[in-house]
Amino acid sequence: MRRWFPSPMLSIGLLLMWLMLNQSLALAHWMLGGVLAIVAPVLARPLQPHGYARIARPLALFRLLGMSAIEIVRSCFNVSQIILFRRADGVNSQFIRIPLDLHSPHGLALLSCLINMTPGTVWVDLLPDRHELLLHVFDLHDERWWVETIKTRYERPIIELFEAPPATGQGGKA
């Protein structure tokens, strides 16, 4: 089972993508999409240096994505407001550093995508010496609030997502 479906989520995603692209629920497309869903993950596996991600709780992933969607809309309005009404000199853009406990490479990738999707924050670099995230904030008002928000609202759910079974260890090598 695991040999043929190294990543069930990826297979389901590919099948859904195929059906959506063809806009059809015909049997032929289910079969073609099924072949794609089985063959593509197996062929692409050697390209993944850390193996496929094991997601412990898919529901938690959707909750995280929903939460960040709300956050994206809210910060969109904040950034638009600043662009429209604030003088450019008055925008307090700063680099801040956030110590991270997350080590899973898949988790870090997800965290960086979520942070960069949200307007107003851009992930700059992961400083290797003390495992700190260097983040650029568009309009900084309270550095501690940002550290708290990233750690509690983003990092903790992602750690639960990817590092829940301690037996597989960091990186979740499949």
């Binding site: 993508m17 959506m20 692209l21 806009q23 994206i72 809309v73 969109c76 950034v79 638009s80 662009i83 429209l84 450019a88 000199d89 925008v91 307090n92 853009s93 700063q94 680099f95 801040i96 550093r97 960086s112 995508c113 979520l114 942070i115 960069n116 999707m117 949200t118 307007p119 107003g120 851009v122 992930w123 700059v124 670099d125 400083l127 700190e132 260097l134 650029h136 568009f138």
Partner: protein, 127 residues
């Protein structure tokens, strides 16, 4: 253009509202490019374009074609998913390239060291 005449009024209002809103948000992202002073501020402008701007236009497209063709048309979700997956990577690449090329910071290590000091340097004074 008979298709537009066949559109019921509520769908027309929804589609028009979403298109205008999406267009305005996209315009706002580019206004940000124009108004903001430094590179590090300007990188935040297009972020609202790729999220809410594309989102509104894609939802408008979904509503329009669903009503016109009387069947659910949802494959615009794929466009949204791929834009949301690729745009963050691009912005991270651009940001890191800027950091490493910036003569004032002299590489990410310098920025990292500076931010720990008591008085972190602000990047909005010069540009």
């Amino acid at each position: 253009m008979n298709a537009i005449d066949a559109l019921p009024w509520w769908a027309a209002v929804t589609v028009a509202f979403l298109l205008v809103l999406g267009g305005l948000i996209t315009l706002l992202g580019t206004v940000g490019l124009l108004r903001l002073k430094t590179f590090y501020q300007r990188i935040h402008g297009p972020a609202i374009t790729i999220t809410l701007g594309t989102g509104c236009i894609l939802i408008a497209s979904m509503v329009y074609f669903t009503v016109i063709q009387s069947r659910p048309v949802i494959h615009e979700i794929l466009i949204g998913a791929f834009v949301l997956m690729t745009a963050p990577v691009v912005s991270m690449l651009i940001m890191r390239a800027a950091i490493y090329r910036d003569p004032r910071t002299g590489g990410a290590a310098r920025v990292a060291r500076d931010t720990t000091e008591a008085q972190p340097p602000s990047d909005n004074q010069d540009g």
